[in-house]
Structures are given as C-alpha cells and as structure tokens.
Symmetry: C2
Subunit: 316 residues, 2 copies
C-alpha cells in the first residue's frame, strides 16, 4: 500500500521496543517512497496522568523510558545508504508533562529535588500552551527520538543519541523537515518516539513538553549517500513562533563549553527570578521548553562563549 492522501499504513503504539537492537524483528515492511503513520507513546510510556504529582517521578520505571514505535524495515535499504525521512505531520494528544528528575539535566547539582509540571495544550499547536498566569509557551511539535538501528550487535541504551540518530532531541525535526540518517543494517530498521510539543535548543532540564503523538513520515532511500552524522533540511524559518518580542540572553565564558553552558543557563534562571519573580524550578523548566543554548564563539582561545536565549514572547 503506497501512501496516497490519508491512505497510508498505520503502525500502532503497541508495535514498540525499548533500546536499539538490530535483532528486533520489524513490525512492518515498507517500500521506498511509502508514507506511514506511527503512533508514539510519550517518553514515560503513559506513566504520568492529569492526577500525577512530583511524588510520581520516583515511581517511574527507568526501563520504560523513551519507548519507540517500530522498527520499520525499508525494502532495499543497505549499509551505506541514506534513509531520507520526510516528516509530514504531527497529531498531538493535547496532554503533556515536563519534569525535573533528580540526577538528570544540565543543572542536576542545583536542582536535587523532583518537580513535575502538567500541560493541557491546543491539539492544533497553533496557540501557546499556558504555563501559569504569567507565561505561555509557543508550540512546535517534533520527534525527540528518531533513528535507525546501529550495526553493532546487542542492545544499545535508548537515552544517548548515536551516529544513527536516536534520542537527538533536535527541536527542528518538526513538520516539513527532511532528515537523512546513515543506514547501517539491511532494511534500516527505522523507529520513532519521544514526541515533544515544544523544546528549546539544549533541552536543559532534561525534559521538553513530553507528549504522546501520532506522526506521519515518508521513508525513502538515497543509495550510497550515508552521511557521517544525521543531517536535515528545514522547510523555512525555525524560530518565528518564538522570536517576535526578542530575547533575554545570558552568557557563560570560559575554557570549557559544558561549564560555560551551565553558567549561561544558571544565569538565566537567576535573571528570570529577578525580572519576573519566577521560582527557580519553574524558570529551569521554562528554559528547557523554550530557551536556546547557542555557541556564540568557539575560536578565541582559551575562552569560549556559550549564550542562552530566552524568548520574551513567553511573557507577552
């Protein structure tokens, strides 16, 4: 069955797996050029509900994190090919969560305690999601985890992204983007999940607006064109939903990019507290769902500048 308008095949969320492993049997075979719809669970596999509290964070089973839908075998895909994934559409669920998880996130030392924020948002993603009576976050749904199976046998943890993609958490893998992934095994074995309603560059607290979604993609092959790392093209601007009111920007400066990133984000949390009276935990989660971590300069040795951009439209 080829993907005409709305006539595509559906891969249900029960067709899922935990971790990357080339030996996991495919849940479907598709021809190059075929469009399919995949139903994705959220990154906590439904653990959080509208009644959840921060106490539920400790009860989350780590083995259930970032379950993905797939794998899909693409006919004719061979090691050395590029799998071209055209990301066509997201159908968000309208419910999501963000969390500060002890031991996880860029500022794990500063935030040792669990915090949970639940979101109800517009399923069309056209109106910003309300965080509280002061802050609203523009939405752009995307797939946090999207990739193909690595060649190396055995089970690979799903959390770290790999050369073959996976948990890249790149907030511009949104509708309209074309993503090229390096195929390492026969059939590519494509999987997707960990869908997010919004996230900034960095995903600094470790979570986005985590939310179950259906996603429509077209899978195609470019023979012999495997990129060294995932590469993509966006159909147009990537920040116009966020940038209209400009940005507040903090910096970190020093010889270590990671330390500079921490200083920049920590500085923004302090700034949001002074400027808008936000609790540090709220500021940290907001930074994660809509602020951007950028490398301003990486050549003026021995000190680099990492900047954190927070969009003022959130408070408009």
């Amino acid at each position: 069955m080829n993907g005409g308008a709305a006539a595509w095949r559906t891969i249900h969320s029960g067709c899922c797996h935990r971790g990357w492993d080339r030996s996991i049997p495919p849940v479907a075979h598709v021809a190059p050029g075929e469009t399919i719809e995949l139903h994705c669970r959220d990154a906590a596999d439904g653990h959080y509900t509208r009644r959840s509290t921060a106490a539920d964070i400790a009860r989350m089973d780590p083995a259930r994190v970032n379950i993905v839908t797939g794998p899909v075998f693409v006919d004719g895909a061979e090691p050395g090919d590029a799998l071209k994934v055209t990301i066509r559409e997201f159908k968000p669920s309208g419910f999501g969560w963000s969390a500060i998880i002890p031991g996880f996130g860029l500022l794990a030392d500063r935030f040792p305690d669990p915090h949970l924020h639940l979101w109800e948002y517009d399923r069309t993603a056209r109106t910003p999601a309300v965080f509280n009576d002061r802050a609203r976050v523009p939405l752009k749904p995307f797939a946090g985890t999207i990739g193909v199976a690595p060649a190396e046998p055995g089970l690979h943890d799903i959390i770290p992204p790999l050369r073959t993609g996976g948990n890249m958490d790149i907030r511009d893998l949104a509708a309209g983007t074309e993503l090229c992934l390096p195929v390492e095994v026969a059939g590519a074995l494509f999987s997707v999940g960990d869908t997010h309603a919004a996230q900034g560059d960095g995903e600094v607290c470790g979570t986005a607006i985590e939310s179950a979604m259906d996603i429509v993609v077209t899978l195609d092959l470019i023979k012999g064109a495997a990129p060294a790392f995932p590469r993509f093209s966006t159909p147009g601007p990537v920040t116009r939903h966020l940038d209209g009111a400009g940005y507040e920007v903090t910096t970190g400066i020093g010889p270590d990019l990671m330390a500079a990133a921490r200083d920049a984000v920590s500085g923004m949390i302090d700034h949001l507290a002074r400027w808008r009276g936000l609790a540090p935990e709220d500021a940290y989660m907001l930074c994660s769902v809509c602020g951007d971590l950028r490398v301003s300069e990486v050549v003026d040795a021995p000190n680099w500048v990492v900047s954190f951009y927070f969009p003022r439209i959130v408070f408009d």
Copy 2:
C-alpha cells in the same frame, strides 16, 4: 556635552589600546546616560587593503590584532555596578575581509594554509554582500569586542573574552541591543572594537566579515546590579535577515561538545562541497560569516548533539 540627536561626543580611532589593563588612562570621561560615537579600526588595524592577498596573512603583526577604541571612564561607576550599554547605531566602512589564519579557528588541523577573502559591501548593510557568483551573505553589523577593564592588575590579552566581556564575538550585539557588563574598576573603563559586518554563531573559521566601523552607544549605570557574566536584551528577532529560506543542518554527536562542534562544521563543509560545489576553504569562511552553531541537546548522557545551521538564503 550630553547626547542629543547627532550632538554626541566622538572618540576617534587614534584613542585606542591593545589588551585590557586597568592602568590605561581614559581617553574620555562621560556622565551616566551620555551617548558617544566611537570610531573603531578593524581587527587587523588596517593591515588588509583592497590589494591584499593570502600572502599578507603571515605578515600581520600579532601585537596589532583586535585593537580597541577607549577606554572611556563613566562617572560614578564602581565595582559591583552594571554598565548598561545601549548599542544604537553602526556606520560601516563598506570594506571588509575574512581569513583562514593558520593555527587559528575551530578546524585549524583541517585548514593549515592561509586564505583571504575581501568584501565590498553596502554601507547601509541593507543588501547582502556578494561572496561569489553563487553566494550572498545578509549583513548585520555588530561589535565583536566590547567590554570593561578587569579588576586584576596587569595587561590581559585581548583575544580571550573575560567575565567583563571583551572579545565575545556574539553576533547579536547589534543595533538596538542593551548589554549589561559587570563593572570591576572605578569608572568601568569601557572600550569597543573588532567590528563585524556579519558573523554566525561560533565564528567557526576564526574571522567574521572584519570591517572598520563607527559605533554609537549610550553608557548608563545600574548601581549594584553587576551580572556574573555579560547579559543582554535584543530589541526583536535575531535571525530574520537569514532564515527566510530555511536551513541546511549538519550534526555532531558524542561525549565531547568541542569534538561534536568540529564534526558538525566539518560535515557542513563536506555538504556544501557536494551540494553547491564550493571549495572547502570557501565553505569554511561562509560557515563562519553566516552559519550558526547550536547545542541541540546537552542532557542525554553520555552523548550530546551539536548542530550547525547554514541558511539557504545565501544561495537564493
């Protein structure tokens, strides 16, 4: 003399210094709230002319690099204050240069040989600068080096940025931006230079469109409000001159942010060669003047994702 429209004081480019040192005598004293115009030499202090070639790179005296105009003493500024710099206007010269300098830049190992590109550009910065018959770079003038004197006595090299600012090379320190710098010495001792007609986040080859310019700023004080690192507010969007046609994006994935940054930029140079037939040296310089280095995720241990965004509008 206070800064009414076009009635401000001018600090000429002969009022300059090399390196940061709290003992350098001020070239002017201003009252808080005063607007001044500073004439800035380019980062090579006029070494490159319209007749220069790559052979002139080796002849550049390193002691002349990044000369800055100042220092300006702000009356009443004391350690612990914030110096608020409102960046009002740039008056670019219309001539600029970009270079690959052996031993300098993110990919110094890949590019051992000197290369020089000379630019003639629109002094209003409204039309993109022509790179070659295929590529044109949208302009946004800004100050690469802007800062105040550090408290620690002695001469500090001008190349590495410091907590007090300096050679930060943040491409959004453009007209309309308000920058807060931490004052560490009496009078703040403000200086500016290293003006750029365009640069991407990262300044990956080590140079931007380096160009002499005049800059108009208002210097003001916020008592007792020194930020830990420089902080700024942009008056509006920061990439709309670049983002209209979307981006080509390459990634680097791994446990070291610097290595991931190198992989992302190296991947873009390879991609621009295949996609647009650019020579690697041209691609590297173009990446430096208009591509953006972003941290896509920094939480999915042990692997981070650094992405390099190249604006397709350059080839439109």
